[in-house]
Structure formats: C-alpha cells, structure tokens
C-alpha cells in the first residue's frame, strides 16, 4: 500500500483550533483545568494547544508532560525495556480537571498506563482525553476520546505516522503507512 495522507497541514490547524474552542466551551475560564501531554509524542500537540489557547482566549493553562513508561503493562514482554522520557509536572492534579493530550489513540494501553501514572500526582476531579487521530476498532481497553481530530479505519499491519515541521519535516502532516518489516 502506498502512503496515504490522513491530515494535511491546513486540516491539522483547523482541528487544533476546534479543540481550543471545544475546551473553552467546556472549561469556562480554565481556573481548575490542567493539560497533560503524554510522552513521547503528546507534548508537541500539547504545546500547540497551550499556545493557541493563549492566542484565542488569553489564558495560560497549566500544563505538563507525563511519561508512563514505568506503568506500562508490557514490561518484560518486550525484548528490552523501553527508555523513559521526562515527566515534567510542577503541580498536583488533586481535585483538578485533567485533559490528557496525545497524537494517536490506538489500543488504549498507553492511556491506561498514563492514567495510572497520573494518579501519583493526586486524585483528579475529572479526566478527559484529546487525540488528533482515533484509530477505530483497534482498542484493547474500553477507552474513548472526548475530543478527536479524525477517526480512521486501520489494520494491525499499518502505522499512523505523525510528522511535525519542528521535527525537521517539510510541513505538518499525518500519514497512514504499512509497517516496515525489520
């Protein structure tokens, strides 16, 4: 299969703006809301959302990066352990409304691990999930996004590849490709 474009730069921008407006609608003045980007790829989306929210609503929503490596359920089931990324949260989530932000929702296992990791920072009042791409019918856990950019039908043999200009790609884009056999 050829690489197929899921979202182009313009569509991603529209979705990010829509996310912001949906958040404003649901969270008023954000006085009890925090955003957490799920490592490794969530923080890029999160930073864009935080910046856009400041532009659109003039609010600076507290945000942090959450790494769930030590909470994953596939430890000792892989050939070698995953390398952890930085967790950077300088607030407690106790009593807060938390929005978890990631790029792609696939099996739901990372989100489960992330919720487990998040609990180390307190008991949130409410947790919501925001993803750019929701891979339909691939879930292992009963986890659904509250905010999604687009839904795509995919096979196990496929990857959703997210490219960002700040990572050295020509422009922002999200592709559907076949997994490369190593």
């Amino acid at each position: 299969m050829q690489k197929r474009l899921v979202l182009d730069e313009g569509q991603i921008q529209i979705i990010l703006r829509r996310f912001c407006h949906q958040l404003i609608e649901n969270h008023d003045n954000f006085d009890n809301t925090v955003l957490l980007g799920l490592q490794p790829r969530g923080p890029i989306v999160l930073d864009k959302i935080v910046k856009l929210l400041q532009e659109i609503a003039g609010v600076k929503v507290p945000s942090g990066y959450l790494d769930a490596t030590f909470h994953r359920d596939d430890f000792r089931r892989r050939d070698f352990p995953l390398k952890a990324n930085e967790t950077k949260i300088d607030f407690l989530v106790e009593g807060k409304k938390v929005i978890l932000v990631d790029d792609v929702l696939y099996k739901g296992r990372s989100v489960r691990a992330a919720m487990d990791a998040m609990i180390a920072f307190g008991r949130p009042q409410k947790v919501e999930l925001m993803v750019l791409v929701d891979r339909k019918l691939t879930r292992d856990y009963p986890i659904m996004p509250d905010y999604f950019g687009t839904k795509v039908h995919t096979l196990e043999s496929q990857y959703v590849v997210v490219e960002w200009a700040e990572q050295g790609y020509e422009k922002d884009a999200i592709w559907l490709t076949e997994k490369v056999k190593l």
Partner: protein, 308 residues
C-alpha cells in the same frame, strides 16, 4: 539502545560506556519518580528479589530495599549472621535454595572478591553485586558518577581525586573504571602503604600530598579507613592519619577554588573528614544517598526488563 549488554551487574569493568550512560539516564527518570507525592511505580510487580548480605551494611541494603519496594518488587532479606551458612552450607547451595522459592534476582554483598561472578556462572538469576570484598562496588560508582553529573552537568573532563584507603576500597576501583569510561580524569591520593602497587597501570595519577590533590581536583571523593580489612598496621595511628590526610575546612579554604566533597559513607568524623566539611554546602554526601536509590532502581529495572 535501551538495553544493557549484560544480564548481571557484577562490576563496572566489564560493562560498556553505553551501559553506564543508559543507567544514568534511566536513574534521572527514577529520581523524578522518587520525588513525586506517590513514590512508587508498578514496573517490577511480578519480580521477587533476594537481598543476600554476607557482610554488614546499612546504607546499601536499605537503599536496595527501598529501590526494590519503589519498583513494587517482592523483597526477601537474608543476612549470614542468622542463617544456615553458619551450619556449613555452601554459597551455591544457599542461593539455589533461595531461588527454588522462585526468586528472580539476587543482590549480594560478600567478603570474597569474585563471589558474585562465581554465583552468576552457577545459578539462574540476575545477579547484582552490592560489594565483593576489596574488588568492586558498582552501584556506588554509578551513584557517584550520577551525583557528579547532576552537580556539574557532565562527568567528561572533570578531575576527580579519590583520597584515602585505596588499597582496601572496592569503591575506589569501581569509581576509577566508571569515571574513566565517562571521560573524567582520576587521581588517587593516600599514604603510600594504602595505595596498591600497580595502581598506575589503571591510568590514574598518584599523589601522596593531599593538598596537591585537592588543588588539582574538581571533586574529592573521600574514602573511609577500612580498619576491619586491615590485619596489619598500615599507618602509626588514626590521629596521625587524620593530621596528614584528614580533610578540614582550613585545608579547603587554602585552595584557590571551591571543590565538591563526596564520601560513600559511613564517615569516620574527625578521621578522614571533619564535621566542618562533612556538614558544609561543599559536601554532597546526602545527595549521594538520595541518588543511590534512583540509580539502584535504574539498575534493577534495566536488568529485569528483558524478556525472560
């Protein structure tokens, strides 16, 4: 790569620079974990670890036990003073009996150099050396390197003087290997009777004058005089050792720079280190202890992580 090149941590000598870097990077993540309101992660919840200590230990055993518990491992402790070792059981038999109870990893301290290496060839479990006689103490070297990295940002290019009883010190040997792998310059300093004869062959500088050593270094790692391992007198008296090699505020104030003081503990206050130095801002001794837990979590996590 996020995988160690070895199944056991027996010493620093036989692991690669990449291994050391991977352990230090992972330890940084665990340091963040142990500073969270809830300091525990579930990674090793299906692992059982036996801490087998044939020699006395406070810090290392507590540090390993805390590291294991914060990774959610099941922990059993064993010390030789109240065990069947006293009844004549061999090391391999003792450990195999413990492993028969489905233990996955063994953390061992032993008075004989090479005991963990011997064990690793004879039993089926990941072995972590928590000090073998006068040979190696790898996790201490790793936490020392981690503490230096945390203080200075990098270990490469730093000058580290190891001062004291080098002859009987497993910390010294592991530190030399570890620091050199990371690109630091190492000097050893102590009375000539407490320096191993061929220590220069490891590529370290040797200095007998403690003032010159302190002037040269960025970090001074001060070691304890290990009287329990000294069958003969290596110096006339502790008082004389303290006069010539003890580090005090006056000595440090004569230097034209501020150096960092480390000590693996336990400190003999007034012998190798005076209280005015041990309790000063220059000393990072308690940081070393905190980092010890994070580094040991990293070692256990990485060793246990491979598919079994």
């Amino acid at each position: 790569m996020s995988q160690l090149s070895t199944k056991h941590l027996l010493g620093i000598k036989n692991i690669t620079e990449n291994d050391v870097q991977l352990i230090l990077d992972t330890a940084a993540s665990f340091k963040e974990v142990i500073n969270r309101p809830i300091k525990k992660v579930p990674s090793l919840r299906d692992i059982t670890i036996a801490n087998i200590f044939f020699e006395n230990s406070t810090r290392t055993r507590l540090s390993f036990e805390l590291a294991e518990k914060r990774l959610s491992a099941d922990v059993v402790n064993f010390s030789s003073s109240n065990s069947s070792v006293k009844k004549g059981e061999t090391l391999v038999d003792t450990v195999n009996n413990i492993l028969a109870m489905k233990v996955d990893m063994v953390v061992m301290r032993h008075a004989s150099p090479g005991a963990p290496h011997f064990l690793s060839r004879n039993v089926k479990a990941n072995i972590v050396n928590a000090g073998d006689g006068t040979h190696e103490h790898p996790t201490q070297a790793l936490l020392d390197a981690f503490s230096i990295k945390e203080k200075f940002g990098d270990v490469a290019g730093k000058k580290v003087a190891i001062i004291g009883d080098i002859l009987h010190s497993r910390v010294a040997l592991s530190n030399i290997f570890c620091l050199q792998k990371l690109g630091a310059e190492v000097m050893v300093c102590g009375p000539i009777t407490l320096l191993p004869k061929h220590i220069k062959s490891l590529g370290v500088q040797v200095e007998l004058d403690v003032k010159k050593a302190l002037q040269w270094c960025d970090v001074a790692n001060v070691l304890r005089i290990q009287l329990e391992r000294q069958q003969i007198k290596y110096f006339p008296s502790l008082r004389e050792y303290s006069l010539y090699y003890g580090i005090n505020k006056k000595l440090l104030s004569e230097l034209d720079k501020e150096i960092v003081i480390m000590h693996p503990g336990p400190i003999n206050r007034g012998v190798e280190l005076n209280s005015d130095v041990a309790d000063s801002d220059q000393a990072i001794i308690l940081d070393q202890v905190e980092n010890g837990v994070a580094v040991r979590m990293a070692v256990l996590y990485l060793l246990a992580g491979a598919r079994n």
